[in-house]
Symmetry: C2
Subunit: 773 residues, 2 copies
């Protein structure tokens, strides 16, 4: 077992690296040439633009010494923006996402105080471990273990302390969760109620339109809704199967990049006309003039694109059996989204339409039977992924044990026994091994979720997050505990049965405390500090900037603001919740490390959300029920583990008291689910009616049909049109002619601005604010 | 273990008692004075009435010898009525209920044939049991065991036969289930679509109306729906808290019975004026003239009732926060029932209204928070009921073991060792012990379900059925297997862990085959034969007839047609499904007994449904998803048991093949649930729109408001009014004056007949038929 010194070394290393990252960030962010890396959000908002005037050097390097003195100034700045303005600025999703970290602080600050006030003295004032170590000299223990529940003698009456604490912690957690659910449900409802007119409020996504020999999909949809929603139906938009067109657009984009690259090369050195080969990956084939080649190729694809687009629109087979149906009123849409249309529940499936930018187009056409088969396949695949991934992790984990290394490679013994190396190995290796595994995972899980056939990006992210959480639970949490123990207690463990499971984990949990403390430091502290440094986008941006960027627009395309990536970040937070809840009673010494993590993460992510991340969609915090459910899961796991631990400690008369806890927790979950979850799935008619009435009074002559006409057109059609414009009128930005505003980006802007005339940088945000409220 | 002779004796006893019951029924049903016991359904329909003319003796006893010769004629008669007519006659619930027995036959006839063709030879052609019995002479085995899977030697390749059979049986079961689900879903939809105008088509039950300081509940409901469903809302009816009134009506009913009794006594012997005591239970207090006393008491209560009723209607506090809201169109009601009304999902809860006769009034006012608490309480109580009930059963089970009895009471040994007594004990006792336990159970479970706060009788029955099934599963199925084994293998068993569970059951299952065969005979065969004899209603009717009956109306009240009692009968059928599926692979010898049960039960229940049972409500087969789900549960249990059994038989390489089975079965369940279950919960708008349009074209000037005005009035108000009429105009039947038809009963008539003029017995049913189709 690791000693306090090991932990101290690991903490020092991690704190130093975190501080180094923060320092580097503090300096880099002040350099104007990094502006688009560290403040892309403001560029997307149209509030900032590239510095054009002033000296050339000043354009790249910040020479103002005073600004370096307050290089930690971003921290208070990140906290300064009030929540309502944050919602305006970055959307409700982001604001609620930050509340997860806040929830962690709300959870664990009181729990830590109470645990250190009550449990630490109870655990410390025993000498079980000292007695045991005199009996069996092999057993090592540290001061951390003296603070843990392991130090209470078997059968002691002192076990009532952790038991009562488990109750108090559970009640506190449930109370905080319930309050938070209430707040977020009302934030969501308020957000939806105060949102201004958006196409998805009027629109329902209809899937599985049955084929009809006499009518086209479009006619069929129109007739069906004219008959069954006679007073409410307005228009509909069919969905085209544009996958071929998407490929063309991708190909053209790639070619344009090459063209830009060669043009820039030519400009810098006009003496040599750049050449390239036409074959596979530019390695084989005929040598041609690069600029000429790509220009003609792009022209060719442009024409093909237009042809393909026209063909799509004419060919009835390219219309998928799905449609976006819009209604005259929000009430009509709410009714249609919540009701079953026909007696066959697998046809004419209606659901509330996602935002246009949230739609995941390729999945719209998957029929019902295929969906269930796909789900089965993914469930089986995911099972195998989760359980066979464990083998390499278990192997690496076992190596991280000093004894394991010495046994496996005896010649390393002298090196490993050097105190600092030993501490380093014990503090660093296990966390890093896990980390490498985990980097590749979210992409695979997202692919699996896409295969399952969900139709919006937000639901895809939620689905991936669920999978990732399960994976982390099995592999990081259980895997670390059991595999580690398995190599220590191999003989006693392998032939154990399932109901011994909580016991085994219960025994292993206190022993794994140091491992998880180092895990929190590496994955948590250093990971968060690395997040704010944005090393990868920094490098990629500067590479692109030097090789590809010609115009302002190119520079904007080179900018990679990224996003929160809910699907991979949220499950990780949940892992910390799990660790905190499990160790709160067992080894309270872990809790302060978590508090640092939650505090730092809150700060960093608030800064990133304000300055960096681009909002890709707005789901109005639709992910909260998942977050809530996972915290409940963690709570139940912690209770079961404690049950197992106490039953091995011969505190058996406490079992009935502990069994009641998970029962009550599950009941609480059902209760809060019934109470608040409908707010995240359903659309109350009263709210819809209110907004309709208000709108009708304010704008009695509104032409809603024109407003909705083209709201749900496949983005690739728009893109084709855009590119057409660009290739025809090269160099002129078409959107600046259409929308006279400073907003320079088209990417994921929440709503097209209706302001005429230019607005200054500072007032623009406030204008949006007024407009929305 | 029991031998073939034991089974033979048990079978003989049970077959003889079943034949005796059937014979008794064959004779009793022909006697006219039993007519109201064996054919009450026809009286309720108004097709039959008491014989009035002809000779006095003939009125009571059937002297026509020829009719006795065809005393089994009821069997073909029961099968003769075609299903559509059966639906007209007894409702869709009854018709679909019968299909559960048919499903059993469809399941098990091919399975039995296949099992005897394939598994029986495979099992028989081994000598494992003979070899084992030579090794350990204690081990007894019978020819039944030679036919079971126990006879295959450990590790034999022959285990592929049961394995492949398990696959075939599962696929067959799923296929039949899927087809059946399809048929029943379409029957339900057709039934609903072809049903004529009924109040519940237009009505939605609204619960948890929030209190408002300024408005009464009634005004609040009206305003809310006028605002949020402006084009569709028609009227509403509030719900009164009439529990006090109900008690008064009960008390008066009881007093009327006593009055009738004393009046009859006085009529028979006019010389003595009957007296009674006014105190507790008529045992203490002052002696008074009975007739005078009860007459004045009844008058008093009648007046009190009217006062109470008027008070209820005036007092705003007696109005519960619930209402039946009716809409102009079925479309409007379908929309309101399926949507969420306000942002708080615990207020203004709307659901499709049950039929007026299906409403369970006392539960309408329970608020949301109380509901969840009540559910928690019942879940905990039910858990204790299920698991602590096992102790006495286990005790009785263990006694039923001959060795157990001899050990417990050695002096009984000579008696017990008499062959016929031994067979009797082994064949009879265990089944009867269970039976006695089970008789009292459904009432308790129904009480628990009522406490949970469901609002319709049909959902209460479904809920009770679920509980009863779980109870039977744990206590009868698992309890019989494990408790029995526990007393045999006590040492090896008690310290076993949870993952050994399937193995333990797997080992015990073949040993318990004879027990379950006798169980099928006693509970199944004799139980069904007892059902048709209706001994209890027979006795009660004749007792009432001699002591209370004065008028035709009294005689009708004395009649007890009973009903299917889904809540207790369906779980029992499910137990047979479970036994059949579990033993199909293990001991196919059990299957023929099941076939006899399903065949006989189908016949008997078809007869009872046609001639006896009164339909208390019509839920349009809403219970089918439950039935389907339970058969799937049985299927999965059978697969897990087989997995456990084979793993003990060292056929370990078969495990992966068997694990796939439950996964596929669960997937099938999810698939068929998604495909067909919505048909049982939701109300497709298309169907509603069709019916609306049709009705509007046919009857453009229909006054739907008048039609719905009083549809959902608490039945006790009607009853008070009825009694008022009776007490005012004694002896005259008020309804005969209002509705001039032969229909003599008011009890649970589906819809008031609109026929004017009398119809003859034979044509009346056909008329109803025409009217509906």
């Amino acid at each position: 077992m690791a000693t306090l010194i090991d932990i101290g070394v690991a903490a020092a290393i991690n704190i130093l690296s975190a501080i180094a990252f923060l320092l580097a960030f503090g300096i880099l962010r002040l350099q104007p040439f990094n502006d688009r890396v560290y403040f892309p959000k403001w560029y997307l908002k149209g509030v900032r633009s590239s510095p054009t005037s002033s000296g050339t050097l000043q354009k790249f390097v910040n020479l103002d010494v005073r600004s370096y003195l307050k290089f930690l100034g971003w921290m208070p700045a990140a906290l300064r923006m009030p929540e309502p303005q944050l919602i305006e600025h970055a959307g409700l999703d982001s604001a609620v996402y930050l509340r997860i970290y806040l929830l962690g602080l709300k959870f664990f600050v009181p729990i830590t105080l109470l645990a250190f006030a009550v449990l630490a003295p109870v655990n410390w004032t025993n000498d079980t471990l000292e007695l045991e170590s005199t009996k069996s000299p092999d057993l090592e223990f540290s001061d951390i273990d003296k603070l843990s529940i392991s130090n209470i003698p078997t059968g002691s009456i002192k076990f009532w302390a952790p038991l009562v604490m488990a109750y108090i912690f559970t009640f506190w957690a449930c109370y905080v969760l319930f309050k938070e659910y209430e707040i977020i449900a009302s934030m969501r409802l308020h957000f939806l109620a105060s949102a201004k007119r958006k196409p998805d409020q009027f629109t329902v996504l209809v899937r599985n339109v049955p084929p009809d020999p006499d009518e086209s999909i479009s006619e069929l949809v129109e007739h069906f809704f004219l008959v069954n929603h006679p007073n409410h139906y307005l228009i509909h938009q069919v969905v085209y199967d544009a996958n071929k067109l998407i490929k063309m657009v991708e190909k053209k984009k790639n070619m344009r990049n090459w063209l830009d690259y060669y043009q820039l090369k030519y400009e810098r050195n006009p003496s040599i006309s750049p050449t390239c080969k036409t074959g596979f990956w530019g390695l084989f084939g005929k040598k041609v003039d690069a600029i000429e080649y790509y220009t003609t190729e792009i022209d060719k694809i442009c024409k093909e694109e237009v042809e393909e687009r026209d063909k799509l629109k004419k060919n009835p087979k390219s219309i998928m059996p799905a449609a976006f149906v819009s209604f005259r009123t929000r009430w009509g849409a709410a009714v249609c989204a919540q009701t079953q249309q026909t007696r066959n529940p697998t046809l004419w499936l209606t659901e509330w339409s996602p935002e246009p930018r949230d739609v995941y187009w390729p999945n719209l056409a998957i029929p019902f039977v295929q969906l269930t088969v796909r789900r089965l396949i993914i469930a089986v695949l995911f099972f195998f992924l989760t359980f066979f991934f464990m083998i390499p992790i278990a192997f690496v984990q076992s190596l991280a044990n000093i004894q394991g290394i010495e046994k496996a490679a005896p010649f390393l013994k002298p090196l490993v026994e050097v105190p600092i190396v030993k501490s380093f190995i014990q503090g660093f290796l296990p966390g890093i091994a896990l980390k490498i595994f985990l980097i590749f995972l979210p992409t695979i899980l997202m692919f699996m979720s896409k295969f399952e056939g969900l139709v919006s990006l937000s639901s895809l992210e939620r689905r991936s997050a669920s999978k990732y959480y399960l994976f982390l639970l099995v592999n990081v949490f259980l895997g670390s505990i059991i595999a580690g123990t398995a190599f220590q207690q191999l003989d006693t463990f392998i032939h154990q049965s399932v109901n011994e499971f909580p016991k085994t984990i219960g025994i292993a949990i206190p022993m794994k405390a140091t491992f998880f403390i180092t895990f929190v430091m590496i994955d948590g502290w250093a990971g968060i500090a690395g997040e704010i440094l944005r090393l990868k986008p920094l490098i990629v941006y500067h590479l692109k900037n030097s090789f590809l960027v010609k115009t302002e627009k190119d520079r904007e395309d080179a900018m990679d603001p990224g996003s929160i990536e809910f699907s991979s970040t949220e499950p990780k937070i949940q892992l910390y919740f799990l660790l905190g809840l499990v160790y709160a009673v067992v080894t309270p010494f872990l809790l302060p490390y978590l508090l640092v993590f939650f505090g730092l993460a809150f700060l960093v992510y608030r800064h990133q959300i304000i300055n960096v991340y681009n909002q890709e969609y707005e789901s109005a915090a639709a992910f909260w029920p998942d977050v809530h459910g996972r915290v409940i899961t963690a709570l139940i796991i912690s209770q079961v583990v404690l049950l197992g631990l106490l039953s091995t400690k011969k505190a058996a008369n406490s079992t009935p008291f502990l069994v009641a806890l998970p029962v009550l927790t599950i009941w609480f979950h059902i209760f809060s689910k019934n109470r608040y979850e409908p707010a995240f799935h359903k659309n109350p008619l009263q709210e819809a009616m209110k907004k309709d009435t208000l709108e009708h009074t304010r704008e009695p002559h509104l032409d809603i049909k024109a407003y909705l006409q083209n709201a749900y057109i496949h983005p690739v059609f728009k893109e084709v049109d855009d590119y057409m414009d660009i290739s025809l009128v090269d160099g002129v930005e078409p959107e600046s002619a259409l929308v006279p505003t400073k907003r320079a980006s088209q990417r994921n802007t929440p709503v097209p601005s209706k302001h005429n005339g230019s607005s200054t940088s500072s007032s623009s945000l406030l204008d949006v604010h007024e407009e929305r409220s």
